[in-house]
Symmetry: C2
Subunit: 149 residues, 2 copies
């Protein structure tokens, strides 16, 4: 299984500890931060322009052969077991964490949309949460004791 996490983020905040922990399940997670001058310009124009600029970048990575998941406040809230069911028997899973202004509807129509919580999180926190959930879900799938610790 391959997992990629795409974020719109200027900062190169990485979750290297979780990348290593997840590797024990034979799963390679890549943590990809995207930011460029088009996004920077668009964010100064309007929220809608910003969302279109994220869509333009993110859409390059959407794969019809993969499970494409966007983390979005209006997405479905699921528990850890439902999350682990979602990951089961997949060969490739792509997660998208939106930029400061979220996603546009065009992008969200191409993805399964999940909400982590009713609370608003920074991108850094959202990424830490999704990394731990991936590790926890793989622990459930592989009968590793982490989820019960």
């Amino acid at each position: 299984m391959k997992i990629k996490i795409y974020s719109i983020s200027k900062k190169q905040n990485k979750c290297d500890d979780f990348v290593k922990q997840i590797k024990q399940f034979g799963v390679v997670v890549e943590d990809i931060n995207i930011f460029n001058s088009s996004i920077q310009k668009a964010q100064k124009i309007s929220q809608q322009s910003a969302r279109e600029s994220y869509d333009l970048e993110f859409s390059k990575y959407i794969k019809s052969s993969a499970l494409n998941i966007a983390l979005h406040p209006n997405g479905k809230e699921i528990d850890t077991y439902a999350f682990s069911e979602l990951l089961k028997n997949r060969s490739e899973i792509l997660f998208f964490i939106g930029g400061a202004f979220g996603f546009n509807d065009a992008f969200l129509s191409k993805t399964i949309n999940i909400s982590l919580s009713k609370l608003t999180f920074s991108h850094r926190i959202a990424k830490i949460i999704i990394f731990e959930q991936i590790f926890r879900a793989l622990s459930i799938i592989n009968n590793h004791p982490y989820h019960k610790e």
Copy 2:
């Protein structure tokens, strides 16, 4: 305003960055990890004994003059604005993050119970989340741009 976060945790994982950031709002947050031999023994006996041992320790810190909040999966899920309303105009707020086996009902009857998410988090992640929410809530209360960044 004073905030204290009590966790049942052997590991001394601290959130020093957030402690510093929160200080700019004139709020002192203390991050207190509790663990002792009674808890260790009780955890080996049964889940119920474990929960009673947490209750015994945590109950020492419950204050009738403070807002006492337990983070619990069966608590009420609130959004960041409701969370910031909860914190407003308080002189002291105490958060309790349960041990590996959660809380007993006796303890939960003494606290306001909040759930961070339908997802299950480790204590480390729950603590990171609550620290960021405290910072975010104080940003909203103080019109600091963080929540909109």
